[in-house]
Assembly symmetry: D3
Homo-oligomer: 249 residues x 6
């Protein structure tokens, strides 16, 4: 499927099927947070902040391990039509819950909580503008904010200078099949047309943290799954490089 013929497909925004949108990461965007990054995947813009506090929730106390968690949300007019605020509705929707949990799990996969010590880091990913891929941009940006916060904590001697708190980097990308062709990094207009939609979270070393594939219409074949994973690995490798450059590593 990623054969010569399909690479000739030209997408609405001029990209090839295995090409990321323009990725921009502005680290240190927030003057308030211990770590932060404004990440852009094309027109998708997510503000990621990492809030570091000493201590852990009560149920973790005295075990010498830290805690990393995440919350995801969208501004009401991040999207093409306005969505009511979840604070006004008085409850969090299923999609929000699901993505918040996904981000938290993804980042915890590269954290050594023993090395973090009894400290808590909350990663907030707030979508300022949405054009597809908000959850993958969130994970990718949250990693940068997290790395910044850990650096900050080492400077403040809240974490040992030589501790390897981050065991690897982590990034995520969406892939999908549109009109039978697997494609990388779907903007909204491609996302709604995708027959199969997959979000893949991959470490800097190229191992999987999460694979979430969903048939939107027709169930998908094993070969299609394989082609999508191939694309995802191309994309996340590129994102890992951009993260390293942003962090000056």
């Amino acid at each position: 499927m990623t054969s010569a013929s399909t690479t000739a497909v030209v997408r609405a925004d001029g990209r090839t099927v295995d090409q990321l949108r323009e990725i921009t990461i502005t680290r240190g965007w927030s003057k308030q947070a211990e770590g932060s990054a404004l990440i852009e995947f094309g027109n998708t813009k997510v503000l990621c902040t990492a809030s570091f506090t000493e201590g852990v929730p009560r149920w973790l106390k005295g075990q010498g391990t830290g805690w990393v968690t995440s919350e995801y949300a969208m501004l009401p007019r991040a999207t093409n039509t306005r969505n009511g605020r979840e604070s006004v509705k008085g409850k969090i929707g299923g999609r929000t819950h699901e993505i918040s949990r996904l981000i938290g799990r993804s980042l915890r996969a590269v954290i050594d909580t023993k090395a973090l010590g009894e400290n808590t880091i909350v990663l907030d990913c707030d979508v300022l503008q949405a054009d597809g891929g908000t959850r993958t941009a969130s994970i990718t940006g949250a990693y940068v904010a997290l790395a910044e916060a850990i650096e900050w904590a080492k400077t403040k001697k809240l974490v040992k200078a030589n501790a390897t708190v981050l065991t690897d980097s982590v990034a995520a990308i969406s892939v999908g099949i549109i009109d039978g062709t697997p494609m990388l990094d779907l903007p909204y207009e491609e996302d709604v047309r995708a027959e199969t939609d997959m979000n893949v979270v991959v470490t800097g070393s190229g191992d999987f943290v999460e694979v979430q594939g969903t048939a939107e219409g027709v169930p998908f074949k094993r070969a299609e799954l394989d082609a999508l994973l191939d694309l995802a690995l191309i994309g996340t490798k590129d994102l890992a490089r951009i993260q390293r450059e942003t962090l000056g590593l």
Copy 2:
């Protein structure tokens, strides 16, 4: 990984790595619902009911298509220690939301909503006893309840007798890597020890509807992912057969 050496692994409950627990499906368990099944994956017991009502939610009216949705919940003492009720807490947790959405998507993948007509089916999956695999048992049992409800609707002439409402069957199973060995259908004690945990939803034809893999500790390799998918296809093929037998097809 599913090599000769690993098939020699004996699990706590005496199963081989590619063997399902004892599966029991009691269809028509409920005297009240249009379709129902009590499904058991070993000690996991889920009551699945399908509630058929004429008409669709307002936003779907006049389009000639039906609506299938799902809600999942656990009784407070389905588990080893009691969990507070979500009704008492006043909100639904992230895990509940996530599983309810997964079940709904999985069943919708085999429904032709045009053939269903402007009718609504709500699938309720209530876990009476939990021992791992509650979401996969729910999907597998909900399919039986759904098939029963559609049969009922044809008898009542609410759906055309010759309509192919169900385009395929659907079943789901969990797989995971425990001490480096991929295994099928994890009970709770294996689930908590799994390094990688995957839920796979597959049609009767063997195509994928959902693939959700999560690294609980160490990220996983592509080869591990492949081995897990192999096991999942073995398990869901078996479940599809049991579903057919239960429905007398």
Copy 3:
């Protein structure tokens, strides 16, 4: 009113006016709970579990007394048409609250909380299928689950082996006046037709714990009240015997 003429009344299900529906109690239904019973009053099926935990709520600490409480709920499709989940609505309805409180009070009436010591027992009564009398089945079944949990606690030496934690047994039944005739143990179709509806909770010794009578249409006379209480004492005496047999006492 329970005169010769009325005993000749034949009910839709063939019972006499002073006859219980078929009562089945399956103790130990749950592998997870410290005590449990699946109780059936005809087509009404309620799963009762007793969760025993050491310690008491903060406001009771240090007083040497235990705590017994209860929560009642219905599965959404326990009834003839589906009811929305209270967890989804985000609040518990008045009827649920009322019945939960009734069950708790009824069981506490036969518990010596000093003998229980600083331990907590939560009784969960979940209606799997509803056909009238769900609250009375819940109380009757919860007693069996409670007795099992106390037996378990004695085995585990969490409660003294010779402590008389249960001072008596307790059971409950509904009675009502239909077309002017007092009847025992109303299924749903009789319940909706009843002019007066009463739930009576009685100890094994035949004393009253709760009497709740309600005129659904026309107010009722003292003589009618007396006739209903007579029937309730017949029914609860029978239930107390079945409870004893179930528990092997």
Copy 4:
């Protein structure tokens, strides 16, 4: 039990066992509501208002019958120590639900909803000061507010002048057993000491609308139940007279 010896019992407030506290009903207390009454049972003060509106809830439309419902609440400092507001907690407690439902049922028992026509009356009972018996004072006062509102509706020609909307009057009183002695109309200090506590709702004709008896400690005997009902009939007869005088009937 209401023998010569027990009538000699002198209560803390100087009353005999079968004597009501001082009862005061101020009708027309509110300038805003269509009907209202401030009712006092000793130090218990409840403001009851009846809000009459044309039309009925959607599910009742076109059936030619009206709707009467009730809501009960306590001001936070009606009691000896302050209780948090249910509006601040974001949910209504079980006790509030239970009493609101009891008041509604009690008043509906004396309303001919056909004669009321497609109109709605909401009875609000707000406890300004609590000293036991707040639910029985609420029912007794709500009847007066209801009668006023119906009178108002007849004047406004919203209800036919000759319609018998109220088929009877209704009043309620608490009774209980303290130190083995049945007593009428319990203030708070007696209520907390009662072994058995009963609330009885009775029509002006002396028939029962509700009987709710609860063993607080020791289960109660049939003879005790009978003695309590005797007292309740004495008390509600007196209340019915006061209601008639208040309404000038």
Copy 5:
């Protein structure tokens, strides 16, 4: 604007533009609260209670300072048409929140929290009948309840007898511009017609605690603001005198 010509304006209730409605304060209305006042501004009636408890919220502990807070609410039928209860809706509206906060701030402005010591006073202002000015009546009445509660605490030796807990008195009044004329103390019918509406909270010494002016239609001029403040100072001076007389100072 408060020129000779405008003082000739006669209002619907016969008052001059700078005249308060009839003000009545009944102190000690509640038998339960440590301090209380039923305050009436014409037909507006608010029950204010002050609940004194030893100790402070956790975040204030050990600092030697007290805490004063307030909650405001309306009975559902205080107004001309019935408003749904906030407890039933499950959330507090913006207006309620805003007024509760205003009352709390206003009273804290005249409290020396050091002199109060580690004690908490909650001021509940419940509107029994509403006819405009409920927030200003609440502040004015809450001051009397607060003064009573502090007197009570001194008697009980919970606060030092010679401590100056109250540094001044505080009262509030509404003013507004109707048909171009500034007027004092607006009842509901004037309030809805006002072009500009202002609530002013003033100490007994004549200094400002809060000034909240809102243009309802046309923005207002500085001269109009000045005229409104002049009126408010006249009204609050009168209220301060009535407060002193009520408290016997």
Copy 6:
């Protein structure tokens, strides 16, 4: 107080007492909304979007008038320490409610809803970074977003090209007294030290829409109020000029 001596006061950030922080307004920040502006008052950054939709809420239908409303919120880490999300808490706090209402009233003061026609505009003000003055920045930025949205609607012919929907501009600023000196546009560090704090909303013509002054510690004098209003008029005049320049008017 704004005498020669006080103008010599140098503030921590080097401003004079009557000087605004650096103000930046980036219009058209959002690609999704019909109108938008990112406004900065020093380090305070608020994203304001205006969502235009045809039609009005049901209770306004058929009256030929439009509806403008507003919602304000803060990102959890906009502030120096993280605040829990209101969506997670399940309810909106009093401060959020109060500011949302203030923004809505302020903008409605310069809208001719008849000229707007039966259309709705929702103004969302989301604080990305907070350093004092978030509500005043919100009002000032929301005006720009609103003007953009109306321009858009005229282009789309949803509003008549020659309609004067905006009758004036509107801007807001905070003023306060710090160490006895009135100052304009307080950043967080000044705000917490202010004895009196005032938010003033002023039209382009220099008339008042809202005046909200609060004594944080000591009540304030009339002369202080006057000095604060003088400063506020200086600041809002400057803001009105910046708004005009941003909009190219």
